[in-house]
Amino acid sequence: MTHSLAAARTDGGNSRRAGAQIPGSRSRHPDLLSPASTRAGVAAAPPALPPVLKTRDATMGFGLKTVLSSVTLEFRRGTINAIIGPTGCGKSTLLRAFNRMNDRSPTFWRRGSVEFEGCDVSAGTPDPLELRRRVGMVFQRPNPFPMSIRDNVVAGVRAHRLAPRRELAAVAERHLRQVGLWDAVADRLDDSPFRLSGGQQQLLCLARALAVEPDVLLLDEPTSSLDPATTEIVEALLRTLTPRLTLVLVTHNLAQAGRVAGTTAFLYDGRLVEAGETRQILAAPREPETVSYVTGRIG
């Protein structure tokens, strides 16, 4: 039932955590979620850090409906990780478990653990507000706030009091530059963001998410409403965010997973079917369901 993703780690540092909790691990595919160390060879791998995000036997749903069953997964620091699968497979629910956005629904329930930096996200340390600052989120459609472009970027900075008032303009500029939007909006920072194009709005939302200096960015199909050219810009930007940030990217677009993600997890019907290095998942999937999905027979 439980499909291991993180598989058995041959590197010692992690076996402490990994050993007990991952049934059915495939020892012949060591360290699936650390492409960097795989490429470099296990011996040369940096001392294994504990994963930033991790679920263990996580089962969750809403009311009587079980959306995810026994998902065990982990994401290493500084990596880009894709979650793929057909509509309704539980990708977004899994993503939203990490920043507790599911908790907004009164009928949401969960068993098993979902951890951020070794602590269950529901444990209260960090509290939900700080958790959401450190585990940021970008949504499917651009969702700028009804305030000026500059205020949009620093909305979170202001709420968390991360910078004194006089530095807010500089913070806004820094993050607008980071997402490559500065030249386009420099002369209209006080204007409404709703006049920007969809792609620019999404970049603005990225700048807003980055401005609170998160450790993790959860991206819920961030380019599905964008044209190919803008998608390319966003993807290039995502690659620049590592290794400082850890990215978890839910996507419908297999090619996108192939372009940006080091590891990919395939969810189907609420189960984690297979996870590992993106190249392997896309080119040589092991499970029949994964094969069907990546070849376009399901989904």
């Binding site: 920043n99 507000l129 958790l131 006049r195």
Partner: protein
């Protein structure tokens, strides 16, 4: 066959056009009739109508006199200043009370209450909006007014500092009929309008936008203040104007709670007063007994003034909303 269909199309279009022009025609007829009726009063009362306090219908039993070609009872002298001031003051007080409470109620209903409680609260808001104004008036005159005069007004009067403007809140607190009680009753009457409209607007804020704020680590309250409310700001302004329109024109409740004192402005916050609408309804009977018809012409002039104030408020609101929506807010732009 085709010809028949074309004719049917033309008939439909013509009928719809005729139906669509009914509101316009009704408004035009209303304004024309009011103007014609008010003209003699405008000519005789002159600008003094807006500047003095006296309200003297003159002697209906003496022979009529003719001034500037207008026939009127001798001694007739009308000043609408206290009425106009009373209308504006009571509506202003109602707005000061109802706008913050209404917005707060709407935020609470949308954001904090569980679904079932929220729909119950919505139901009560609608019931409250549908209560006939005469019921509010009776309650205000019999219960709320005296209660305010006994328990609230003395406290305010005792603590208001003896400074210009604020001095208005000092002095005798009366028995319950007056500006303060009328403002509170009016406020309660327009509260459901503002709260229900604001609630409907807040429900239109896209879920993704609110979630965007929460996902950034903002609290529910911060997300409401920084995202939810700004999203609907112009719409809420429209809701407030809707409420103001009702307050300005409210008649029965004010006729019952204001004390309908003619010919004098209120001395303080608690004093009896009257409004344009309340005066028209309370003076209608005696005006009909004016054989020259001049009192009725004055009523028409009053009605015209009230119409002008209401239109002015609406136009002003549209101008404000238009300037605010320059930031291109996505919803709630209209009044």
């Amino acid at each position: 066959m085709l010809r028949g269909r074309i004719t049917a199309e033309q008939v439909t279009r013509g009928t719809l056009r005729a139906l669509a022009s009914i509101p316009l025609a009704a408004l035009a007829a209303l304004v024309v009739i009011l103007l014609v009726q008010a003209l003699p009063a405008v000519r005789y009362n002159g600008l003094g109508f807006f500047t003095h306090d006296a309200w003297l219908p003159g002697s209906f039993y003496a022979d009529p006199v003719t001034t500037h070609g207008v026939s009127h009872p001798p001694g007739a002298s009308y000043g609408a200043l206290p009425l106009i001031a009373g209308t504006l003051e009571s509506s202003l007080l109602a707005m000061v009370l109802a706008v913050p409470v209404g917005i707060g109620t709407a935020m609470l209903v949308v954001e904090k209450l569980p679904a079932r409680l929220s729909s119950a609260a919505g139901f009560f808001l609608e019931v409250l909006a549908g209560v006939p104004s005469v019921v509010y008036g009776l309650w205000g005159a019999l219960t709320l007014g005296p209660w305010l005069a006994r328990h609230v007004s003395p406290v305010i009067a005792a603590h208001a500092p003896d400074l210009p403007i604020l001095r208005f809140f000092r002095g005798a607190t009366g028995a319950g009929e007056g500006l303060f009680a009328a403002g509170v009753v009016l406020g309660i009457m327009i509260l459901p309008i503002i709260a229900a409209t604001t609630r409907d607007l807040l429900r239109q804020v896209p879920r993704q936008t609110v979630e965007g704020a929460l996902a950034l680590g903002l609290t529910d309250a911060e997300s409401m203040r920084m995202v939810g409310f700004p999203w609907v700001r112009t719409g809420v302004l429209g809701a407030a104007v809707l409420g103001l329109g009702r307050a300005l024109g409210e008649t029965m409740a004010l006729a019952m709670v204001s004390g309908t004192v003619l010919g004098a402005s209120p001395h303080n916050f608690y004093d009896t007063f009257t409004t344009i609408a309340a005066t028209i309804v309370s003076q209608l009977d005696s005006s009909l007994t004016d054989g020259t018809g001049f009192a009725m012409h004055t009523m028409a002039e009053l009605a015209l003034v009230l119409l002008a104030i209401t239109l002015l408020v609406n136009v002003l609101a549209r101008v404000i909303i238009h300037s605010v929506s320059g930031t291109a807010l996505p919803v709630g732009r209209g009044v």
